[in-house]
């Protein structure tokens, strides 16, 4: 017999109480584990979705009108240009995942039906890099290679408007002998309305050799956007437009959702800790006589404290195991509920079977047990044997 078997037997003796305490711990750990895994899952998913926004930062030539961003987003011509040196400088900044050069130009063509002049926006791009930025791009037909000539991709919206099909050749304008080799599937954004050609071709057609209008940047880690854009600002010639106009709002929402989540976690912890301490203290009170007897037969306060602590750790460990299991099993339920409450809920699954998190939840429940058991253990170790025995008799 040792302290552990003694603790186990003591717990089995008070089955009802033990069960309730274990249940209390289990619920606390379930909540904690769910919230924590939601928190980490939320962050991960959010990061992933932000990643799929593609471009995080745009570099445009300095001196552009402040509306450069909207100009770029919606099409238009920027009168100044960036160079390969700028691209090199941007690429060498820490934290940049991808920096791809673009030349955006526009030409006017008369609409066949209405006879009005309509601006057409053409992007010269490096196809592989852009596809990395926009992994959702799918094409009917095929993508071009960067060194092909006289080839063009068009957005779905543009294709429909102009009655373009794969294989057709643009009838007029500066690209009049370009073959449309692919039509992008609908993306729901401006890409649907644009022409895309290899960067070198755009530079050739518009006579802008070596010139760029934009460098589109994707950062490795979203939290680095600020830092990277500050670094980019330091490059002369460059004006930085971050996507924080859009993303900042989302990030703020996500941030407040997270602090809400954390608050709930902390409150849940405090409540469960007090619940556990209370239950343990009650059981200590009930057992003063038993502790008194133990002192009478040679137990020191430390011995009794150890026993109470062993019982507590036992309870919390079992509770932690049950709670973690329950959280994993019930995670989908909880996830559905939480998602309905969060702004900008990610599409993917937020609760993941993260072994570190499981380890943490278990370690945490034991630490919780130690903390919650310490006070009752201290109280029980301080009971004078005489008081304890009398207390029990009366």
């Amino acid at each position: 017999m040792n302290f552990l078997t003694l603790a186990a037997k003591n717990l089995l003796r008070r089955r009802g109480r033990t069960f309730l305490t274990v249940l209390g711990v289990a619920i606390a750990i379930t909540v904690l584990f769910s919230l924590l895994s939601l928190n980490s899952g939320y962050e991960k998913e959010l990061n992933r979705e932000m990643g799929s926004l593609g471009v995080h930062i745009l570099a445009v030539p300095k001196g552009c009108p402040y509306e450069a961003a909207s100009l770029i987003l919606h099409g238009g011509v920027i009168p100044k240009y960036l160079t390969a040196t700028d691209l090199k400088n941007v690429s060498s900044i820490d934290g940049i995942g991808l920096a791809t050069p673009m030349l955006m130009q526009q030409f006017i063509r008369q609409d066949a039906k209405t006879g009005k002049d309509v601006p057409h926006v053409v992007f010269g791009i490096k196809i592989d890099e852009v596809r990395e930025l926009k992994p959702w791009w799918k094409v009917q037909g095929r993508f071009f290679d960067d060194n092909e000539t006289n080839v063009m991709l068009v957005g779905r919206g543009l294709a429909d408007k102009e009655n373009l099909t794969v294989g057709s050749i643009l009838p007029a304008g500066p690209f009049k002998n370009f073959t449309i080799i692919g039509i992008l599937e609908r993306t729901g954004d401006q890409d649907d309305q644009f022409h895309f050609v290899p960067l070198a071709e755009a530079q050739r057609v518009f006579n802008k050799t070596g010139m760029l209008t934009t460098i589109a940047v994707k950062v490795k880690d979203l939290s680095q956007i600020e830092k990277v854009s500050v670094d980019m600002e330091k490059i002369p010639d460059i004006q930085v437009v971050t996507m924080t106009q859009i993303m900042g709002t989302i990030m703020n929402l996500a941030g407040s959702a997270r602090s809400l989540l954390l608050t709930v976690i902390i409150i849940a912890l405090i409540i469960s800790a007090f619940g556990i301490i209370n239950t343990l203290l009650m059981s200590v009170n009930e057992r003063t006589r038993e502790f008194g007897m133990m002192k009478a037969i040679g137990a020191s306060g430390l011995d009794i404290g150890k026993m109470v602590l062993a019982e507590t750790v036992f309870i919390t460990l079992v509770g932690g195991l049950i709670g973690t299991t329950a959280a994993i099993v019930g995670s989908s339920l909880i996830e559905g509920f939480v998602k309905s409450m969060l702004p900008f809920a990610p599409r993917g699954s937020m609760v993941t079977l993260n072994p570190e998190l499981i380890g943490f939840a278990l370690a945490f429940s034991v630490v919780l047990g130690l903390i919650c058991g310490l006070y009752p253990a201290f109280i029980s170790s301080r009971l004078s044997p005489m008081e304890a025995i009398r207390g029990g008799v009366e």
């Binding site: 017999m1 040792n2 037997k9 133990m294 009478a296 037969i297 040679g298 011995d303 044997p385 005489m386």
Partner: protein, 241 residues
């Protein structure tokens, strides 16, 4: 002659709110090694208080207590635990067994605290000594009152104490069983253990060598049963009045 228990001018005052309760008023108490002493007295006279002070379960308000030559006054709790472990075996009226532990495990329990090496045959010896050789694996709920008290006595014996302090050990037992428990005490006493037994039962108390009478926290009488039973080798105790 120096005794194994030497208590001088013991005072124990309890405070209950503003009221002071004098459980022990200036008690001198002397027990020689190997003696069998009983204490009687009406309810509330301070018998339990005295026994608890003697067993270092409770510290006296004032007075001195030497156990086996060690002055216990002012000792820290950690030292008192040691004194208790090495010298004293306690037996209570309510047995105070752990209901989840078998008789054997209950007897073994003090070893867990004293960290003495656990020798299975030692536990067997004790079980035999208290007459429970065939009851070792029974839970307290499967034992009779007398058997439960035997387990408690076995538990008091396992650490080889010098003194057994028993507080109304037969208070919950019928007269036949009580007599059997007393026989066990006498047998242990013959093996050299010092016995101090508090009891309500005058018949049993008279079977001790000395019988002290407590009243209102004071020792008001000491009868030397040895004289009656023909033994004269025990000095008559000075009685504080």
């Amino acid at each position: 002659m120096s005794g194994i228990i030497e208590a001088k001018s013991l005072v124990k005052t309890y405070r209950r709110g503003r009221e002071e309760i004098h459980a022990l008023r200036n008690v001198d108490f002397h027990v020689n090694e190997g003696e069998f002493v009983s204490i009687i007295g009406p309810s509330g006279s301070g018998k339990t208080a005295l026994l608890n002070v003697l067993g270092c379960l409770d510290s006296p308000t004032s007075g001195s207590l030497r156990l086996n030559g060690t002055e216990t006054w002012g000792l820290k709790e950690s030292k008192l635990v040691k004194v208790r472990r090495e010298n004293i075996g306690f037996v209570f009226q309510q047995f105070y067994l752990m209901p989840t532990l078998t008789a054997r495990e209950n007897i073994e329990l003090p070893l867990l605290f004293s960290k003495k090496n656990r020798n299975k045959s030692r536990i067997d010896d004790v079980l035999r000594m208290v007459g429970l050789s065939d009851r070792g694996d029974h839970l307290p709920s499967q034992l009779s009152g007398g058997e439960m008290q035997r387990v408690a006595i076995g538990r008091a014996l396992i650490n080889d104490p010098r003194i057994i302090l028993a507080d109304e050990p037969t208070g919950n037992l019928d007269s036949v069983t009580s007599q059997m428990i007393f026989e066990l005490f006498r047998e242990l006493n013959r093996k050299g253990l010092t016995m101090v037994i508090v009891t309500h039962n005058l018949d049993l108390a008279r079977q001790a060598q000395k019988m002290y009478t407590l009243r209102d926290g004071q020792i008001v009488g000491c009868d030397d049963m040895a004289c009656i039973s023909g033994r004269s080798d025990i000095e008559v105790q000075q009685v504080a009045v």
